[in-house]
């Protein structure tokens, strides 16, 4: 007998715990992975959209005139103190951007294409945006200025809800795991009440008995969490493979980085620690109530 863990024999409740914890680990790992993926996508949107304005100059019948107007607007923008950079995209770049929507027609030159300027500004607030819009409108009436704030705000709002939902799911899984540990510890103390009485009679203090229950819960939780994590990791790996080559500019894809795996590995570890701590705490409280 290596320690107090074996004093309490395996029972029906200790066979039930690994199933619950294995499932909890699986769900919690997937929830956290989804949360990380959503966070990363939101960061990307932040980095790419914040501080940028897109200027679209409507095409006319004469591409040469369009080019001159575009150059003129570019010069005006560059002269503005709030503009850090004003890049005029080439026709090929615009074609590439529109290709997903227009297909071969854009490439074949069948459709008139707007000239596009990517403008990086010091502050993408509404004042700057409106001032620059007036500036380009005066230079080329009908020019569209898009500061991305509307679509970005909708996406941020949506992802905030998504993040909240995933975080709530994670919290619920942890709560259910904790409650399961409480329930199973109390059941085990009832099942093993004779052993508990005997141990008290042999001079064991509450911490010794609680440590025995805690150790046994931790061991069965560790095995279950390892299996649950392995299943979740396999599933995420398959999803990652399936997402290879897909564009995640507008959709969160479960592509995990090394740091993400460290966070995910903390899930089974955290669940084992949670189970053990809850089991120990519950056992001590219950023992303290005994005469």
């Amino acid at each position: 007998m290596k320690g107090q863990g074996r004093i309490f024999r395996a029972d029906a409740s200790s066979r039930y715990l690994p199933w619950v914890l294995g499932l909890a680990t699986f769900l919690a790992t997937l929830s956290l992975a989804a949360l990380l993926a959503v966070d990363r996508t939101l960061d990307r949107w932040d980095n790419t959209a914040a501080g940028t304005i897109t200027v679209q100059i409507a095409p006319s019948d004469d591409p040469g005139t369009d080019a001159i107007r575009a150059r003129s607007i570019q010069m005006k923008l560059r002269a503005d103190p709030d503009v850090l950079e004003a890049e005029l995209l080439s026709v090929d770049q615009v074609t590439d951007l529109l290709a997903p929507w227009l297909g071969g027609a854009a490439r074949a030159g069948e459709l008139p294409l707007p000239r596009v300027l990517h403008v990086r500004v010091r502050d993408a607030g509404s004042d700057t945006s409106e001032r620059l819009a007036a500036l380009v409108e005066s230079a080329a009436p009908g020019t569209v200025v898009d500061d991305h704030r509307i679509w970005r705000s909708r996406l941020v709002n949506y992802t905030a809800w998504l993040r909240g939902g995933l975080a709530l799911q994670l919290v619920l899984v942890l709560t259910v795991s904790g409650l399961t540990a409480v329930f199973i510890t109390l059941s085990r103390m009832t099942i093993h009440r004779e052993a508990v009485r005997l141990l008290h009679q042999l001079g064991a203090d509450d911490s010794f008995i609680a440590a025995g229950l805690m150790r046994q819960s931790a061991l069965s939780a560790a095995a279950a969490a390892a299996v649950g994590f392995a299943l979740a990791a396999s599933f995420l790996f398959i999803l990652g493979q399936a997402a290879a080559g897909m564009d995640d500019a507008f959709m969160p894809l479960l592509r995990l980085q090394h740091l993400d795996w460290i966070w995910l590995a903390a899930v089974p570890l955290g669940l084992v620690v949670l189970t053990a701590v809850v089991a120990g705490f519950t056992a001590r409280r219950r023992l303290n109530r005994l005469a």
Binding site: M1, G3, R6, Q201, L202, G203, A204, D205
Partner: protein, 225 residues
Amino acid sequence: MDGVALDYGAGAPALREVTLALPPGSFTFITGESGAGKTSLLNIIGLALRPTAGTLRFLEHDVADLDRSELASLRRQIGMVFQNFRLLDHLTVLENVMLPLLVAGVPSAERKAYARELLAWVNLGDRLDWFPPALSGGQQQRVAIARAVISRPKLLLADEPTGSVDDEIGMRLIGLIQALHREGATVVFATHDRNLVDQLRYPEIRLSGGKMLRVPAAAPAGLER
């Protein structure tokens, strides 16, 4: 103990106005019919239960003043042989006997060596890896005695230790308990076996309906076998 009473809350009190002192190194019988309160008295002496009235002192400590941790510490100085053995069926004989040393934090190698030695002493050296259900009643009782004495308790409480074994095994078990007594342990032995009490002639506390009928003589002088 002085004026100790124990009331479980249902029916008549298990003990009423029990006053006695157990001198260190003494051997005392507790006798009485079934339901007289013998086990309750042993549980009080063994600190398994707290009296509902009266004062209980153990090794100079007033038990009422002790917290759970201090009580546990005192219990480690008590060995108890239970009427129904109370062995853990999923642990081997060796593991059952080592249990008090595990509780006391004795290192593994040391507790294993001492448990083996003790099991050899009670003639169970060849049953170390057996599980209690595979043993006879007498063998289980010897395991229980080995477990009770392994931590060299200052006080050994035995509750009808011979009640479920035949006479020959019973006398061997009593021999084991007497050997511990000779080494200085205080022994309290509950039995309803009149012949045994008369034969060994140790002081006797007789209980009836939870009350003491006879106080032990001052000089314990057992007739050892």
